[in-house]
């Protein structure tokens, strides 16, 4: 027997409703039901970080969050960071520093960096590496990613 669960989520400032199965993850609902496809599926095991989203102010794994358990929560995805055509500080720094290659890990990486800077506005290099340690990238070697977060931090939040 299955039970469909109705949920309401605030995603990037707008209310969304969906009917979900108990085993559906937030990642599934974001991507396959509500079509917020910016959030990526890389491993579905909570290891790679491509599915990182911010739920009630904290970065979590979309693939390990049960959607039904997110009822009423406020979610920020990669689509919600820019203000119109104005990129967020983190996005702008990633762009300028050339931190982006294939881009598949980048939504999760940028979400994790955004959450990191919210918690620690002026992180050390070590704190940046630790803060992004759960986001795998196979292209960049991380050097430019870490530098981009440093630059974003120097420019202040937002």
């Amino acid at each position: 027997m299955t039970t469909t669960v109705p949920i309401t989520l605030t995603i990037n400032g707008a209310l969304h409703q969906a009917f979900v199965q108990p085993w559906h993850t937030l990642l599934h609902v974001l991507r396959d039901v509500l079509h917020f496809t910016g959030t990526k599926r890389g491993c579905n095991q909570g290891i790679c970080g491509a599915c990182s989203v911010i739920v009630d102010g904290e970065v979590v794994r979309g693939c390990l969050s049960i959607a039904a358990n997110c009822q009423g929560r406020t979610i920020t995805t990669i689509e919600g960071l820019a203000n119109g055509n104005t990129l967020s500080n983190v996005q702008q720094a990633f762009l300028e520093l050339g931190a982006v290659q294939c881009g598949y890990c980048m939504p999760g990486m940028i979400i994790a960096a955004t959450a990191l800077l919210k918690r620690t506005p002026k992180p050390t290099e070590e704190e940046i590496r630790e803060g992004l340690s759960g986001n795998l990238c196979r292209c960049s070697g991380y050097v430019k990613v870490v530098r981009a977060v440093q630059v974003a931090s120097e420019r202040g939040t937002s």
Binding site: K40, L132, L136, V143
Partner: protein, 771 residues
């Protein structure tokens, strides 16, 4: 200098960056078509078995299931680059655990996955082989009984389970050993490495009312997809259109077919668009790995450090299907010579089928395996004759104007410059004398990297639009390395247009000119040359029409920056491209189009000067690199921590230095993963660690932040703006450089990759405590 006027050499962010950082870039699994179905596969539980029958009744009875395919739906068409041995889905036999045997299309992915498990397949198990040694044993089970009847493009002498057997030799090795004062000899082993592109393989297929198949997929070549699909599905290529949305990394793993035939078969069967995206586990169980290899090598030198002879035997595990293996085995065999002048060399490579996941192209393409052995032996010789390993390498570096290998003379050779720059930047001498903190050892080691860019064919079309902007069409797929941007930079530079006045046409087999693929570090070099040629033709035509408009001779006209043709010596006498293009469209009856196509035409291995047997490529323009890696070793746990890397590469000219650095930094870290811990492990025939939980790749905390990219820019005569490719070489250096650093720090040498803490600690414990 304004990068938008002079784009070549500019640190330009990738053109598509905004899409990627706002979540708007579309990858295959993000695409949706009306009525689209979702697919899932059933995988073989056996390493080697005959398929007796299928029963799909239970799967088809699941509500929401629309269609099922099995080997019965596939024809006997076989695809592949060199030896065509792969059907669209397993048919007749399965040859490795995890091989797709059937697939389901359903309304949602949960249903498809559940139903796939309900397909009943009856197998007759066959004996299986899991290593080249087992596969070469007398009476070993034959994995492809009909191998001799397969299409074999280059006529490789296949037999039994042997797919490839090549040789590249010159001089007289047997007598040369007598000239050597020092000889080192050893056996080296390398492991299977998983590409670990962050985007698992995915495809979306749709059939239109005329039966034309369109396939979007994560790939490295829409043309290879089209050809592979045609071969395996038995459809004419005119009925197949392949497209590439954004690709989330590939590294060689997506150059040949992935899941496109499965999506296509289901789309054909159901008449609906079908999307399939592998789970990470499935991707690790069914795609590709870097060839595990065993390398026997012997190198001899005189006591002054002059290298005299080298003999190499490379044995590679091909896995169940040939894929790019003949290429990888061949290239590894050439690269096993290293970057040195060695007058006497006998290098042989053998690729053998086993009942395992196929090995395929992977960044470096046989180079990492060869360098793992070869660069350690160079260090061993240096240690034996008491010479600095950097000096030894300098002494044997190729020189321009002298034959280097197999008839090849290099126009330039920048290995010496790379070595000198690494020596200076790393403060080599000081670091060679540095001691570790208590409980730790510190060492620095070197590796030289030979590589090529080039191979096969590319083309480009540049059309000048009515408003004077241009559209560039090349068919080259950007896997994330930034080729779209670099190609646009070269087109913009050639046309004197700002970058934002060039449109990069997305690859489409219906519309794009041919490009073999995004591989072999060839896009910048080969496609770049095609672009330069196409731009030259376009400019020539612009000048022709401008001369008609301005009523002057063509020779008096010139290309001016910003999209103008001007009269030489008269600064204000100009015509904008828009005006010329407008004239061409109406007065001449059509747009200005420049085209250029080329096959690789650079230096080739000369069969009159060396023994060259069964080597599948004409080959490419040589490029060299030098890596130095400084490491720290925890004496108590054996863990190696790379502290800093100096990576010098002679890339001719950096079209986009920021993108080049990205290639070097990324390649180095992928190489560090290969060096220290990445290893695909099999339990019998089954991949035992098909997840990121068990198979680890480096994260931020496992990667050095100090990666010093040293761009040695001496323009190559044949390259576009002097450029050569840089995609692959950076992955080759870290493993041997770290091994040499380990030896420097501890006197211990590891011959087996990866250098896990356990292997290091055991070696340290077994070594005499001399240090």
């Amino acid at each position: 200098m304004n990068p938008y006027i002079h784009p070549v050499g500019a640190r330009l962010p990738r053109l598509e960056t905004r899409e990627k950082i706002t979540g708007r870039a579309e990858y295959t699994d993000d695409l949706v078509r009306p009525g689209m179905l979702h697919a899932a596969i059933l995988q073989s539980p056996h390493a080697h078995a005959r398929i007796i029958s299928y029963d799909t009744t239970r799967a088809l009875a699941v509500p929401g299931v629309i269609g099922v395919i099995t080997g019965d739906d596939a024809g006997w068409g076989r695809s592949g680059p060199f030896v065509k041995d792969e059907t669209a889905i397993a048919k007749g036999k399965v040859r490795y655990v995890g091989e797709p045997v059937a697939a389901v299309a359903a309304l949602d992915v949960d249903t498809a996955r559940q139903a796939a498990q309900l397909i009943d397949v009856v197998y007759e198990e066959l004996p299986a082989v899991f290593s080249p040694d087992e596969a070469l044993a007398p009476n070993a089970p034959i994995i492809h009984e009909e191998l001799a009847t397969y299409v074999n493009v280059l006529g490789l002498p296949v037999r039994g389970n042997v797919l490839q057997d090549c040789e590249i030799s010159q001089g007289n090795v047997d007598s040369a050993w007598g000239e050597c004062d020092v000889i080192v000899e050893g056996e080296f082993e390398t492991q299977a490495q998983y590409h670990a592109y962050m985007e698992p393989c995915a495809a979306l297929a749709e059939v239109d009312a005329n039966g034309k198949l369109t396939v979007w997929s994560s790939n490295q070549s829409i043309f290879r997809d089209q050809s592979n699909l045609s071969e395996s599905l038995g459809l004419p290529m005119s009925k197949i259109r392949c497209l590439s949305p954004k690709v989330g990394g590939a590294f060689g793993g997506k150059i040949e077919i992935t899941v496109q035939p499965i999506a296509a078969m289901l789309a054909i069967k159901t008449g609906k668009p079908v999307r399939i995206a592998l789970t990470r586990e499935q991707d690790m169980e069914t795609m590709r790995v870097r060839h595990p290899a065993r390398i026997r090598m012997k190198t001899g030198a005189k006591k002054d450090g002059t290298l005299v002879a080298r003999e190499v035997d490379i044995l590679m595990d091909v896995g169940a299907y040939a894929d790019d293996s003949p290429g990888v085995v061949g290239v590894s065999t050439v690269f096993s010579r290293g970057t040195y002048r060695i007058p006497h060399a006998r290098c042989r490579g053998k690729g053998v089928y086993t009942n395992k996941l196929r090995s395929g192209a992977f960044r470096g393409f046989g180079g990492p395996q060869a360098a793992w052995a070869g660069e350690q032996q160079i260090d061993e010789i240096a240690a034996k004759i008491g010479m600095d390993p950097l000096e030894l390498r300098l002494k044997n570096a190729p020189e321009p104007g002298r034959e280097w290998m197999c008839g090849i003379e290099l126009e330039r050779s920048d290995l010496k410059e790379c070595l000198e720059k690494v020596r200076a930047a790393s403060d080599w001498k000081r670091r060679r004398n540095e001691k570790g903190r208590p409980g730790f050892r510190r060492g620095i080691g070197l590796a030289c990297i030979p590589h090529i860019s080039g191979v096969l064919s590319s083309s480009a079309i540049i059309r000048i639009l009515e408003d004077g902007s241009a559209v560039l069409s090349t068919g080259a797929v950007d896997n994330g390395q930034g080729s779209d941007t670099v190609l646009v930079q070269m087109a913009a530079e050639s046309l004197g247009l700002p970058v934002d006045r060039i449109t990069f046409a997305q690859p489409d087999t219906d519309a794009s000119p041919y490009n073999w693929g995004t591989s072999a570090s060839r896009v910048t070099y080969m496609v770049g040359r095609a672009i330069v040629g196409a731009a030259e033709e376009a400019v020539k035509k612009l000048i022709k029409y401008a001369s008609q408009m301005m009523e002057c001779a063509e020779v008096d006209l010139e290309l001016r920056l910003g999209g103008f043709i001007g009269l030489k010596g008269v600064p204000d006498k100009v015509l904008p491209f828009a005006a010329i293009s407008g004239y061409a469209h109406w007065a001449a009856g059509g747009p200005i189009i420049g085209t250029h196509a080329l096959h690789y035409d650079g230096p080739v291995l000369d069969p009159t000067k060396a023994v060259i047997k069964h080597f599948p490529f004409r080959f490419g323009v040589w490029t060299f690199g030098v890596h130095a890696v400084e490491i720290e070793i925890d004496e108590a746990t054996g863990r190696i921590t790379p502290l800093a890397v100096w990576a010098a590469h002679d890339l001719g000219r950096a079209i986009n230095p920021m993108a080049v650095e990205g290639q070097i930094e990324g390649g180095v870290v992928q190489g560090i993963g290969y060096a220290l811990f990445e290893e695909m492990v099999w339990d019998g025939g089954k991949v035992a660690n098909p997840s990121f939980m068990d198979y680890k790749i480096p994260g931020t905390m496992d990667s050095p932040m100090e990666i010093h990219s040293i761009l040695v820019e001496n323009p190559d005569g044949s390259g576009p703006f002097g450029a050569k490719g840089i995609g692959e070489p950076p992955i080759v250096g870290p493993a041997p450089a770290i091994a040499n650093a380990l030896f420097h720090a501890t006197g211990v040498r590891l011959t087996k990759l990866p250098m896990t803490p356990e292997r290091v600690l055991r070696a340290l414990n077994e070594a005499p405590r001399a240090h």
